[in-house]
Subunit: 218 residues, 4 copies
DNA sequence: CATGAATGAGAGTTCATTCAT
DNA sequence: GATGAATGAACTCTCATTCAT
């Protein structure tokens, strides 16, 4: 018999097939296996449509064994969502910090980092964006904090560009933030490494879109 | 005692509080009540997290009574999603048909109609966008067809603009379609009639964003 | 095949074999069947050792059907315990009210009623005495109230007898109450209608024991 | 930080807070720790409501470590129940043996020893009385033997007193045995060293009660 | 049309126990 | 002796659905 649980899952929610997780996290091997299995299933089918037994099967365990590593199904989702938020915010902040100080440079760096995150961890991004609401109040705190920080960082850049006189738009920044956030998030849903557009082109396009939206002149 | 089930539902998925449905549909009163209840719950909590009993309670019925009106829970979702797609496509097509024939005019009309749809039926839009994947193959056909038609209509406009020489962008049209589609869809998640931006301003902003993205000159 | 679930259950906790319930309660037929099944099993094996499936099987239902009648396993226990307390307290109070007003007469009536209750509903008595602690705070209120009323009623009689000068004992009333309560409760554990002692003799003996304990003279 | 598991457990089943065990037994330190932890939990919450993990936690171990000391959860209960029965019977027999030979003296000694046992090891007594039925046939033998011996010893005293002409009662001895046994056992449920009645007074009262019940003259 | 009751399937979770380390 | 991990079995309970009334 061949490996029973490794076939990719067909899904209309995410085109990617690899449940990729950031490497850095200090996770035991078992925890990673469980998270990967859950990530793939949550991304493809949703949290509610994934049973603890599904996860266990894909992780080559029995369902009761999962509880040696995570306290509950929700705990698994919370871990994934926290990892996703941490990774995204780390990248966004690093990008801005390392960019030249001009607002336009910072915006470019910010968008590029965002696009790359969506493309590199598409399943994680989909789960973060679509399943956040499944988390109860006890689990949602850390994610909301990081999310708020990302938004703030973005709005700060917009304001700075306005002050510099390089971002000119008659429309309120909150609308730009919503629109730009949405268009980046969407990438995770259709991107795969085999996509006909290279990631560089996708990045470049979205940087341009964002600059246009914020009214960047020259 | 006041009506027991009419209090709005707190949700992180949608800001709107009214489960508004297009008026036109030929629906019995009972069917509308059921659909409204389901719409509200699906939008707020998701299809998987909404039980048939939840819907029944909110519709002031017992769960078994639902089956006098719909064949299954999935049938209710399919109906909602079909209504949403029909309404959206009807508006998009009408907008384009009634617009002046210039590509830019058509694009403006298309985006405006899209934005208005999201704002007028935010719950329906959220359900359409987030719960489509819960539909099995038997139910998904009509929605997919309409969805494809909308995309085609949009891409036709882009191509026409290119041919006219008014849309100039180095980036592929599929990326523009994704970005513009995403930013319009997102509106449904945060818009309410009480939002600080009027719907006119939101429409105007998104029309501008879209024109920028497709590289409209003059 | 003969009826599959009607055989009595062997138990070291209760000798009785009939899960008898007071007739008066306004209970649907289904509710009574469930309660009887649960009573028998709780009395014989304990609440913790009885599964919801055991109850269902003995009630000739599927386990999920139980939930059409009771909200939870604990709800079933709470109902039984409340019925038991109500019945016992009703009998105690009626006995005292109908007795002659002399303290000794009231005590005799009180003890006789208590003994009869234990003998008539032995399973209910055993469950009430042994499983009360399984009830969470939400369910325990009514039972505790009735229990406290019974104790108070008993202590009032003791005090009255003391005041009348007919109950003379150097020992505190709380000890008498504990001892008498214990010896009555114990009856439920071994009594059956087939017991070699008639219920009249058992009643008479315990009345005498109680009178002796409270130091009744003449 | 202080020891995490030493706080007493709230319980409606037993008022005592110390899981006291007879000193004599030849038990390793670890075994005693496990037994104490189990005793406290079984007394407070019942055998069925206590998990092996609960016991381990209270014994500052992991659950798998318990199995280095006891073969099973039931083995722990069986050990406790055997210790309880041995201790009680040893005391009862010693009391009778050391008493003067008159039946009344023997009865007094027997009751006094019984009361003292309940008061000195209340948790053990509660577990012995309430959880005996959880033991399977394989484990119950020793306890039943000792229990039978205690009853026999008691009935022998009653008979002797009858023969001596000092115990006169119209009621059968089995009823007296039941009543007296019940009232002594009950003590374990409410006694604590801080109780407002001293153990001497409690003992004296129950000796009197017993003498009254068996119809002691003079 | 409405509903109380029934039910098979399956949910998430806990359990006592085993075993390799 | 201690323990992290694994696991089969069982748990209570919820689910969507059916059907007789």
């Amino acid at each position: 018999m061949n490996q029973p649980t490794t076939a990719p899952i067909k899904s209309r929610r995410v085109a990617a097939t690899e449940p990729k997780l950031p490497a850095s996290e200090e996770l035991t091997k078992s925890k990673r296996i469980v998270l990967s299995a859950a990530l793939e299933l949550f991304a493809a089918n949703g949290y509610g449509s994934t049973s603890i037994r599904d996860i266990a099967q894909r992780a080559n365990m029995k369902s009761s064994s999962l509880y040696n590593h995570y306290k509950s199904k929700e705990d698994i989702l919370a871990t994934l969502i926290e990892i996703g938020h941490i990774e995204l915010f780390r990248r966004l902040r690093a990008a801005v910090v390392n960019a030249e100080s001009a607002a336009a440079s910072q915006l470019k760096a910010f968008i590029a980092a965002n696009v790359r995150s969506q493309a590199e961890y598409p399943m994680l991004a989909v789960v973060v964006n679509h399943e956040l609401h499944e988390l109860g109040k006890k689990h949602i705190g850390p994610a909301m904090t990081l999310r708020a920080q990302s938004v703030e960082l973005f709005l700060d850049i917009l304001e700075k560009g306005k002050a510099e006189g390089v971002f000119n738009t008659p429309h309120p920044p909150s609308l730009a933030a919503s629109a730009i956030g949405a268009m980046c998030s969407r990438i995770a849903e259709w991107f795969t490494p085999e996509h006909e557009q290279t990631i560089e082109k996708i990045e470049s396009a979205h940087v341009d879109y964002a600059l246009n939206i914020v009214g960047f002149n020259q």
